[in-house]
């Protein structure tokens, strides 16, 4: 009975996720290929190449930064480790486009760094070479700095759940610390790292704000150019299918790769104990963990403060309180809805490991690689159609006008956020679930728990850290989300991200720094909550053993 309930809800979620994608496919098929042909002859290959370079840079950068820092904070002890462990998550709170504003302000030709350089050296304005911040490399740096925490969060959770026995077995068999890390610990954490990297890559190909600000033309900007400038929505849809196919390919690879090995822990095992570091090694660990915090948090915060102080934005005005209220409301609702959907989809696959549930899992992850604007319009068309149909029926039958019941409410936005960020929630939940051996489920079922009962009384408690991580990621992502919010929000539902966008698109970057800082500040709250909670669990679990 309740197994059917889970299947039903999971299929409903998958259907909602498919709706905008179906819309995209339909739009793509309805149009002709003239625009696509023009793009293929002129800019398409450059778009594709730029996107691939960006993906390679951001993906590898995030894996290295995320996995290495996660390993260090889980398995070693050094001065400052405690707060670095928390601080390493914080860059997640910055939207990449905000980092782009801040770093442009610092590094572009009229910026502080280059001006100082010219003043000190006396070089002419064009007599020297300086790395261009508005470039593919610059965009890769911004995206890596805000996205590596995905890998870090998931890898940290995985290292923590990992048993120390295999690692020490490798050490005792003569492997060096680094060797054991690469040959034992890292492969065991592979599902988590791969899940994190998949999120990073999907977010990278869907990014519009950062690359648009830098003038870097990618596949995603090509979608908007086709839609807006070339006025060809079908061509935009055809390009969006390209992104979708790429995302699907990556998701399948990741899942296949994971399927090759079982990562569940067997039996009860002791976690890692921390190796104390001192001297040069402690310094090196501090430098490695401090580097992303410095570039991803400290520098942009100082820059944004400096910019914001000169603007006329009044953060205590009723308008700003309204922005804040809307942002918090939407992010909380979206986080709860999305993580619930992820639990249902994950459980569906756990209880019925068949083709349908696997397909539901893939479908649920696709939205992350699609630019928010594409999802928004894909949702708007069918839902507005439904609203208009319902309104006409109600008018005819009961003489009541229902207007735009769903389209005019926040629920369409929540649906868009869910589709967009479900992959992040699934990534966190499902990779955690992979470390719970199916024997646990079997035991619970033998002891008389139903399928949903197993989820409720076994999975959810065990996976509390993964669930909180998922909530945190969706909350922060929603706070930062812009394109879908811009298109779908009801009247007077401006968020902080909308206000930042409005000021930035009017080229008032000093003003945009103010809402941007509040966005980052909001992201801090769940990060701190999460860390406090995790520390609490660790204490109680240590007490229990």
């Amino acid at each position: 009975m309740d197994r059917h309930f889970i299947s039903g809800v999971a299929l409903l979620v998958a259907a909602i996720c498919l709706l905008p994608i179906g819309g995209v496919v339909a739009a793509a098929l309805l149009g002709n290929l003239d625009t696509l042909r023009h793009l293929a002859e002129t800019v398409l290959w450059r778009y594709t190449w730029t996107t691939l370079v960006l993906v390679a840079l951001v993906g590898s950068g995030s894996i290295v930064l995320g996995a290495v820092t996660a390993w260090l904070v889980v398995t070693t002890e050094f001065r400052g480790r405690r707060w670095l462990e928390v601080a390493l998550v914080v860059p997640l709170a910055f939207p990449a486009y905000v980092l782009a504003y801040a770093y442009t302000h610092i590094l572009d030709h009229p910026g502080i760094v280059q001006t100082l350089l010219r003043d000190v050296t006396g070089w002419g304005p064009r007599a020297y070479w300086f790395p261009e911040v508005r470039s593919v490399g610059g965009a890769a740096m911004m995206l890596t700095l805000v996205l590596y925490p995905y890998v870090y969060l998931l890898a940290r959770a995985a290292f923590r759940l990992q048993a120390r026995a295999p690692y020490y077995a490798a050490r005792s068999l003569g492997a060096s610390g680094t060797g054991a890390f690469f040959r034992v610990a890292l492969p065991m954490a592979r599902p988590a790292i791969a899940a994190g990297a998949l999120l990073v890559v999907m977010e990278t190909i869907a990014d519009f704000g950062t690359v648009a600000h830098f003038g870097v033309q990618t596949f995603a900007t090509g979608i908007y150019t086709s839609w807006f400038s070339l006025a060809d929505r079908a061509a935009a849809a055809q390009l969006a299918i390209g992104l979708l196919a790429f995302a699907l390919l990556l998701a399948v690879l990741e899942q296949k790769n994971r399927g090759a090995a079982s990562y569940a822990l067997k039996g009860r095992q002791a976690p890692f104990s921390r190796t104390p570091l001192s001297g040069g090694r402690a310094l090196a660990a501090q430098a490695v963990c401090g580097f992303p915090v410095l570039l991803g948090v400290v520098v942009p915060t100082i820059a944004l403060f400096a910019m914001g102080l000169r603007s006329e934005q009044d953060i205590f005005s009723p308008r700003y309180l309204e922005f804040l209220h809307n942002t918090l409301k939407l992010a909380s609702v979206a986080a709860i809805v999305t993580v619930s959907a992820a639990v249902v989809i994950g459980t569906f696959r756990r209880v019925h490991p068949n083709r349908v549930s696997t397909a539901a899992l893939y479908v649920g992850r696709l939205g992350y690689a699609v630019p928010g604007g594409v999802i928004a319009v894909g949702l708007l068309v069918p839902f507005a159609g439904f609203d208009n149909w319902l309104d006409a029926r109600m008018e005819a039958w009961f003489d009541v006008s229902t207007g735009l019941l769903i389209t005019g409410s926040i629920w369409l936005m929540v649906a868009a956020y869910m589709i967009r960020f479900l992959a992040a929630a699934i990534g966190a939940y499902d990779s955690g679930l992979a470390t719970v051996t199916p024997n646990v489920d079997a035991a619970a079922r033998v002891l008389g728990r139903s399928a949903t009962g197993t989820v409720r009384s076994v999975h959810l408690p065990i996976l509390r850290p993964s669930l909180l991580t998922a909530l945190l990621i969706v909350f922060v992502d929603t706070v930062k989300e812009l394109p879908a919010t811009l298109i779908l929000r009801p009247f007077d539902h401006d968020t902080l991200a909308v206000q930042a966008f409005r000021l930035a698109s009017d080229e008032r970057l000093t003003g945009a720094a103010v809402p941007s800082l509040i966005i980052a500040g909001l992201g801090l709250i769940p990060v701190i909550l999460l860390c406090a909670q995790v520390a609490e669990w660790r204490r109680t679990s240590v007490a229990a053993t």
Binding site: P110, R126, G215, G385, N388, D391, G403, W411, F491, L509
Partner: protein, 339 residues
């Protein structure tokens, strides 16, 4: 217990559902004018008339897509944009209705309104050439001059995905034909001082920092730096000269910001009243004083910052022609390698 809970849930859900804003005394505005300074413009209207303004601001094409999807039940009363090509697009999509208003007829000049009275322009800005007075002795006098090899490595202009560059190119296609415009675009690209990047303000700041000698930008970005402090620009603006291009021929390229009444407007009377307000002296002065634009209504006083730019001959090319040329302009810029 369960029934109470489900009833609470139903109530909570109902509270979040949309309440259609059809009440008297409301105006629903879809706008792609994203200027924070417009707040005053709207609050003054509410103060004068008692009509509350509900707003959704966003990208023009996305708002058009939204209105199309919403169809008969769209709550939009007025749709405002920052460029005429989007007004034409909305008109082509059947999103506007014809407005009969003596006030608008009398105040908005003929070239700034649609032939069928579906949309009206309220403010305009010119896209002009700025240059470094210390380094450039003979600045380009026309848009065509930007292609002159004499300016190799000197020209800064933003990306081809920017709408203002597209309308400028669309206007050139109308004046010169597609082939000549493609040659022009290719030659301009070879004069670039750097790859296109940033916004209009960034091109002007590039002159100050010395990376650019010549920059193309809309007038209000420079006028804003005259009126108030813009980082990296206001302090050094004395070194920047400007040219209103093509004064001996077609005139300087203009961008019209305007709007119309939505086809399915639930509050059409308020919508017309709002458009008439936008054409009033008070609002027109505010376009100039608040956002450094040129008022569309003749005879309205310019703010000092805008007046400092001087008077010039505008290009009065039909907006519909430019709108039709936009896709061709984007394709041509792609072909020319204008990133």
């Amino acid at each position: 217990m369960t029934s109470i809970r489900s009833r609470l849930l139903t109530t909570a859900l109902a509270a979040t559902m949309a309440v259609p804003a059809f009440a008297q005394g409301e105006l629903n505005l879809y706008s792609s004018r994203h200027y924070d300074t417009d707040e005053r413009l709207y609050s003054d209207f509410t103060e004068m008339t008692g009509i509350t303004i509900n707003r959704i601001e966003g990208n023009a094409d996305e708002l058009i897509a939204r209105m199309e999807a919403e169809g008969d039940n769209s709550p939009a009363d007025v749709f405002l944009t920052v460029d005429t090509s989007r007004l034409e697009r909305a008109k082509d999509a059947g999103l506007f209705q014809t407005v009969e208003s003596e006030v608008l007829e009398a105040r908005v000049p003929a070239y700034a309104q649609d032939d069928e009275n579906q949309w009206f322009g309220f403010s305009q800005r010119s896209r002009i050439i700025f240059y470094d007075e210390n380094d450039v002795d003979t600045p380009p006098a026309t848009y065509q001059d930007l292609a002159d090899p004499a300016y190799e490595n000197q020209v800064c202009i933003r990306s081809s995905s920017n709408v203002y560059n597209q309308t400028l190119t669309g206007a050139l296609i109308a004046h010169l034909g597609e082939e000549a415009t493609l040659d022009w675009a290719e030659a301009v690209v070879s004069n670039f001082a750097r790859d296109p990047q940033g916004g209009d303000t960034d091109q002007l700041r590039g002159i100050v920092s010395g990376e650019c000698d010549i920059a193309v930008a809309n007038t209000y970005y420079f006028a804003r730096a005259i009126r108030k402090d813009v980082d990296g620009l206001s302090d050094s603006r004395d070194m920047i000269g400007w040219v209103f291009p093509n004064q001996d021929s077609t005139g300087a390229h203009m961008n019209l910001s305007g709007g119309g009444v939505a086809a399915n407007a639930p509050n059409p009377d308020n919508a017309v009243r709002f458009l008439e307000y936008l054409a009033s002296d008070q609002a027109q002065e505010y376009f100039s004083a608040g956002n450094d634009e040129y008022p569309a209504v003749p005879g309205v006083a310019l703010s000092p910052s805008v007046a400092e730019l001087g008077f010039f001959k505008p290009d009065d090319l039909d907006a519909a022609v430019i709108a039709d040329n936009i896709p061709a302009a984007q394709m041509l810029l792609n072909e020319a390698g204008w990133e």
